[in-house]
Symmetry: C2
Subunit: 338 residues, 2 copies
């Protein structure tokens, strides 16, 4: 027992589960962005054929799970568990999107780190012998997030330059005990880190200390350096948060200059699409992973990447009550070799 833990907080999976399928879906802006060709499905209409944006978000989860199942020629009954959550109050994106599949369901709330959390738990359930196949997934929608966290979109509120743009997107990974890879080899679970940032329009700064905490623990536990990975990629820190993480590591004498990216900086065109500090939302890292990242791992562009989605654990109520913004980050090493 317990031989799979290395260092303080990291799990080295004994039998690394394999990605056997993945799918993503996005909206108009996501499809027009630099990663547009990596989307399986997109829709010009932000309602995705539904009557409300919340129902549209559920429709995205439904479509993306169905597509991931189809790609692997699987039926819903072939999955032992789904791990899913989203940003909506009471995670209705997931519960309404997934109710018709009748798959055992563990609901998560990890804010924008949910793709990391779901992938971590799905991988450990398989490695632990509790499941053969699991789906890990999440979603976000610009219009549902704006009206829930900030202002309804039709109000046309101005956004400060530090604000990020919640991605209208969803992504799903199906993992199995056996498969051709890429494989989930290591997992570091995040701690809640709160450095007192109170600006709800500067999430990158609020989440950066959590990303640093988890990544530093991962490198320490695995006795590796950023250079040992073809890519180190955080979830949705955006321009500011990405810079903060780089400077934290610089202060430790560790350079992240060469291979450190952030999903929030990749999803939209930084010059021609005005998304301010970058993309955010659970769907940001989920759609970048389940499109660009896993595709390029399969193509052999990279052999080993460190995927570290970040989440801000605030609510409008906590901010109204004067609270700061706690962050969390889960790190997962994905490799083409076991």
């Amino acid at each position: 027992m317990n031989t799979k833990r290395i260092g303080q907080r990291t799990i080295a999976l004994a039998h690394p589960p394999s990605v056997i399928s993945f799918a993503n879906i996005g909206g108009k802006f996501e499809h027009e962005g630099p990663l547009g060709s990596y989307f399986d499905e997109w829709n010009e209409d932000s309602f995705f054929g539904e009557k409300t944006w919340e129902k549209a978000e559920s429709a995205m989860q439904k479509k993306v799970l169905q597509r991931a199942l189809d790609k692997a020629r699987l039926k819903p009954k072939d999955l032992d568990y789904i791990f899913a959550g989203d940003l909506l109050n009471q995670c209705i994106g997931s519960s309404f999107g997934l109710r018709d599949f009748h798959i055992p369901f563990y609901g998560l709330y990890g804010a924008c780190s949910t793709m990391g959390e779901s992938l971590s738990l799905a991988a450990m359930m398989i490695d632990g012998g509790f499941a053969k196949r699991c789906a890990a997934m999440t979603s976000s929608h610009f219009c549902t997030a704006e009206r829930q966290y900030r202002m309804p979109v039709p109000y046309g509120s101005q956004r400060p330059p530090t604000a990020q743009w919640t991605a209208t997107a969803s992504g799903c990974t199906i993992l199995a005990a056996e498969g051709p890879g890429p494989y989930i080899t290591h997992i570091t679970c995040g701690k809640i880190v709160d450095k007192g940032i109170k600006d709800g329009n500067n999430m990158g700064a609020a989440m950066a200390p959590a990303a640093y905490d988890t990544l530093a623990a991962f490198f320490r536990d695995t006795e590796t350096k950023p250079q040992d990975y073809d890519l180190v990629i955080t979830g949705d820190l955006g321009e500011l948060g990405h810079d903060i993480v780089r400077s934290f590591f610089e202060a430790d004498g560790i350079s992240l200059d060469k291979n450190y990216q952030d999903c929030g900086l990749l999803l939209y065109d930084r010059e021609n699409q005005d998304m301010h500090a970058g993309a955010s939302g659970c769907g940001c890292s989920a759609s970048v992973l389940n499109g660009y990242l896993l595709t390029e791992l399969q193509r052999g562009t990279w052999q080993k990447i460190l995927f570290a989605p970040t989440g801000a654990l605030l609510s409008p109520t906590s901010s109204f009550q004067g609270e700061s913004v706690p962050g969390i980050c889960h790190a997962i090493c994905i490799s083409t070799k076991k």
Copy 2:
């Protein structure tokens, strides 16, 4: 691999983790109820010394985790993971209540089934060799739930007879790989079940089909009957939901008459405390488990119980948009023997 699954959906843990500590906390009404003497801590003041009810709910989680740690003479660093969630938008009860402990955190959203979900995942993480010790916990607060789901308490809205009373309570279980018991021996993960109930004031009826689905799967997979357990106890179905589950099983020729209870029917005095259809909220099953149930298992009153918390996966937004109320139920067998 995978030898731990029995039947369709049930896990028989190879090395059943032991409960090594538990604690609960409640408000005035919970302490005045029939299980009052089983509370470790209670407060006459619904604010628990804080400025807002949301901060009070976080304070409950903080206090209950600290007490569970103290009882086992553990420090926060002795826990490998916390699994926690609550009913508040973005689960701020958990993220703000637990941020100062610096323990790796997996946030959950399972509505009122969260005590079952957290206990299931904590047990599997230990049995799978990923952790030595984990905490599983959740909370709810009458005043935060009323203003979020229904009406702010000061409005004095009337509640229909089918309405349940959200418990102001929190509970925490600490599990470990080794210990004197009681042990977590079997787990059945719930599916999202939606039979079209739309009345947000009749949660018991909405959740009952999910409870039936999970309990029936558990009995089928383990080839056992309700009579094989000293107690079968659902989470917070209340009077109506409890009756519906009993009639569903009756239609299958299975009697639940002798030993079937519901935490929502035990927490308050059904005659002298007017709580309508019974108690509800994540804190209901969490405080009943981490007081009455685990204490009486330790005392030898029972040898084997089946604990099955239920959750309603709705939000005010989903109801405003005409949606029905999906339910979920996770079942856990807790036994004094491995």
